[in-house]
Symmetry: C2
Subunit: 143 residues, 2 copies
DNA sequence: ATTACATGTAACCAATATAGTTACAAATAA
DNA sequence: TTATTTGTAACTATATTGGTTACATGTAAT
């Protein structure tokens, strides 16, 4: 199955907040094209991860850190698209009486970790600043 | 959500077939520790991907290609753990009237593709031969 | 040819995740 | 005090996963 769209929505939300701190969950929902509660739930995750600051009753949110210090990996982990350190599922109880069964997990796991960290490395090298700049550039060149 | 264990089970199945062509789905299920039908369904995918040759009624299966030419990426794609070319889901209909909304998809997609192909590259560099050799080595050193 | 055994599927089930929705409490600001 | 907003609980529909039963079909060996 594909990785949840919470990730791309999270990036979308943060990009909006970066350009306008008075974005309410209703306005953001309008841009993402979904329900405001979906937005609030994802914002709640971003808040727990200390990427944004939000307060009940007061409209909008602020970035908790400078744009250039927030990586896509931070967002990816914040919205919990994947159980920590286990992008790849491994079948749990292979037969210890079989040579393959008793070695498959320890053989396959380090490779999965390599693949996972290769993916995360790419995400870690892109910041929200890159995203926002890219969007601004596209806007500028299309006008 | 984690990537389906069909992947690790697929590797397990192929490793067993590599070491013994007379492995029935019952025997394999015993080693994987699951139901034989689960095994047959995954083997059906491996067959469609032309990684193995199986015939109805006749016990066991054969590798369709040499061990060293089957990569983990081949297995990964064979068991369809991920919708083709879309490891990362992207929210479908952002608002075109918003600067962020109308650019988020085209900004984020190429990065997602980079991350995905970094992951796939790791899988493509490991062959089933590597896996089986590793298992044999672990067996030898533990005796 | 009959028997025994395998594969190949259809059809179902329980558990879980996703994305969306309604409803409402609590906090804030005007 | 009123209007607005955040924060959640609770619920829904849908889809995927992993497992299971049941059974038709194919093969080989006696």
């Amino acid at each position: 199955m594909a990785i949840s769209t919470r990730f791309s929505v999270g990036i979308h939300i943060l990009s909006l907040i970066a350009t306008d701190e008075k974005m309410t969950s209703d306005l953001i929902a309008g841009s993402v094209n979904t329900n405001p509660v979906v937005i609030r739930k994802i914002m709640s995750m971003l808040k727990k991860a200390e990427l944004i600051e939000v307060r009940p009753g007061v409209a909008g949110a602020r970035l908790a850190r400078p744009l250039s210090t927030i990586t896509l990996l931070d967002v990816y982990q914040a919205v919990a698209v994947v159980p920590d350190k286990e992008l790849f599922g491994v079948h749990a109880a292979p037969n210890p009486d079989c040579p393959v069964g008793r070695n498959i997990q320890s053989t396959v796991t380090p490779i999965f970790e390599l693949a996972q960290s290769a993916l995360e490395k790419v995400l870690a090298h892109v910041t929200l600043d890159d995203i926002v700049s890219e969007i601004e550039q596209k806007e500028a060149s299309s006008s």
